[in-house]
């Protein structure tokens, strides 16, 4: 089994604060991998370092984009690339796409237009062709619109396709953000607290959705989540961190039994 993502010795500090300290973990092919840790442990920072919003002070982020993507990008004789230093907006071209902890959608646009943003890199027509609506650009738009409808349907929100995203309830907006990631035909989807703000039945649905995405899109999923029920239910493997440092890694059962994890969460929450 090949690994999709290898995070190696990642470190970053903000001023005096060492937010990540020599952190390493690996996400396998078609794996659902959980990253857990108390508030402020540095989980979102890991995501930001992987997707190049932050540039780590040290360490590497090896990513295996798949043979066809590698060939297209002109990488030969290797099956993985180090994402560190790749411009933020190029990361998605490798097949790595993410959601945000505070749901970043575009409220003024309809749901389908929001999803189309996720297909941005597939718009190949030149700016001029788009400005003058040349046939090539119109065909492309129509095809991607179809694809976007498919992504909305996958998350059962296609009936809202033409509604503005701003007025939608939280659950819909979270699903919309997920739908947007599907446009990129991802190898790895990174989800930052997908269950936050969802009610119990919505969370159950989410577990189901995450598995379906993995199965039908054949991608891996890396997720941060505080809802331990969800994490333990859906993840194949879990990595626990605290204060930016590696604590433990293993299957949900192993993590649940790990004394270090208990210690880190002690007083924080007792549902581990």
């Amino acid at each position: 089994m090949t690994d999709v993502l290898q995070v190696e010795h990642l470190s970053i500090s903000f001023g005096g604060l060492k937010a990540l300290d020599d952190l390493s973990f690996t996400v396998g092919d078609s794996e659902i991998f959980g990253l857990i840790g108390p508030n402020g442990a540095g989980k979102t920072t890991v995501f930001n370092c992987i997707t190049q919003f932050y540039r780590p002070d040290a360490g590497a982020v090896w990513f295996a984009p798949g043979a066809d993507r590698l060939a297209r990008a002109g990488h030969h004789g290797t099956d993985k690339v180090d994402l560190v230093g790749v411009p933020v907006h190029r990361v998605i071209k490798h097949g790595l796409v993410r959601t945000f902890q505070n749901v970043e959608i575009i409220p003024e646009l309809s749901l389908i237009d929001n999803v189309l943003i996720g297909g941005h890199i597939d718009f190949k027509a030149s700016m001029l062709a788009q400005m003058f609506r040349l046939p090539s650009s119109r065909r492309e738009e129509a095809a991607l619109r179809e694809k976007a409808r498919g992504a909305l349907a996958f998350l059962s929100i296609d009936h809202l396709a033409d509604e503005p995203a701003g007025g939608q309830p939280y659950g819909v907006r979270k699903r919309l953000e997920m739908a947007r990631t599907l446009m990129a035909e991802p190898r790895l989807i990174i989800l930052d607290e997908p269950a936050a703000g969802l009610n119990e039945s919505e969370t159950e649905g989410l577990a189901e959705t995450i598995r379906r995405v993995r199965d039908e899109y054949g991608c891996s999923i890396l997720l941060v989540e505080h809802d331990m029920g969800l994490v333990m239910n859906v993840c194949d493997r879990i990595c626990a961190i605290s204060f930016g440092k590696f604590l433990a890694e293993g299957t949900p059962t192993q993590i649940q039994r790990d004394p270090k994890v208990h210690e880190a969460y002690l007083g924080e929450r007792d549902d581990v």
Partner: protein
């Protein structure tokens, strides 16, 4: 080339820019608003000074006091009636509002003070100080001292006093400061009033070199903004440093390169400088939290 003379001159104009820039940075740090109307508000209260001086025959210091009251009231009014109510507007929205304020004050000035250009004399009409080959008028010395002393006093207030601490706390994080019980509303109100007074002083200092018309603060406005860009928006002293540097560079460029295009060349140089140091001379690079 004689160096001392242009240097002294630069310090004089530098003080004007420094005071205006201090106003902009105070407002920026406390209200997160780019105060495009700093020059226009200074123009308005500066014109008030010239108007009172011209019409009532009051002494200059008394006219300046009246101007300060006008400036403070304007600062209060703008923050209280407009800026404070823009909590929900975007940063761009707030910027646009200060652009609108430029027009409001530009339109108000001739209505309130008439359309005849006014004159304002120097605070110290005559007298020169000789320093080697160079001359410095007493008035020039006063201007330099005003700039340096006011900046210094402000820094001391910011560093050593309770209100200074409140301002710095508001500057670094408004919502945290509010949670800690700091009256952030009072802080911004004070910042706007102080900015107003600083703008008025800049206007009074520059006025004797020109006539008091609605556009007489335009150069000061642009230069003060550039001083902030050059010095960086993250510290209070950066813009002051930027202001003096710009004044010096401008004077030397005018003397040695082009008397007509000196300032223009300087502006372009500063823009190019931004490519090298995007956050200005003393600005730290900061990482936007995602």
């Amino acid at each position: 080339m004689e160096l001392l003379q242009p240097l002294l001159r630069s310090l004089e104009t530098g003080s004007v820019y420094a005071l205006a820039a201090l106003g902009i940075i105070l407002v920026w740090r406390t209200s997160r608003v780019m105060h495009f109307a700093q020059g226009s508000m200074g123009m308005f209260s500066g014109t008030a000074v010239a108007f009172v001086f011209d019409r009532t025959g009051a002494p200059l210091w008394a006219s300046v006091l009246v101007g300060a009251v006008v400036a403070i009231l304007l600062g209060f009014a703008v923050d209280f009636a407009v800026i404070r109510r823009l909590r929900r507007a975007t940063a761009v929205g707030k910027e646009i509002v200060t652009l609108g304020l430029i027009m409001v004050f530009l339109g108000l000035a001739p209505i309130v003070f008439g359309t005849d250009p006014l004159l304002l004399p120097k605070a110290i009409p005559t007298g020169d100080l000789t320093l080697g080959n160079a001359n410095l008028s007493y008035n020039g010395l006063l201007n330099i001292l005003l700039g340096v002393v006011i900046a210094a006093v402000l820094f001391v207030v910011l560093q050593k006093t309770k209100i200074g601490l409140a301002i710095r706390a508001t500057a670094s994080n408004e919502s945290t400061a509010r949670l800690m019980g700091i009256p952030t509303k009072t802080v911004t109100l004070l910042a706007w009033a102080t900015a107003g007074v600083l703008g008025m002083l800049a206007a009074v200092m520059i006025a004797p070199t020109t006539t008091v018309t609605p556009t007489f603060m335009n150069t000061v406005q642009v230069t003060a903004l550039f001083a902030c860009v050059l010095g960086g928006f993250q510290t209070f002293y950066g813009p002051v440093l930027g202001a003096y540097l710009i004044a010096i560079a401008s004077n030397f460029l005018k003397l040695s390169v082009s008397s007509v295009w000196g300032d223009q060349i300087l502006y372009l140089l500063i823009l190019v400088f931004l490519l090298v140091r995007p956050n200005g001379l003393v600005g730290k690079t900061y990482l936007k939290k995602v």
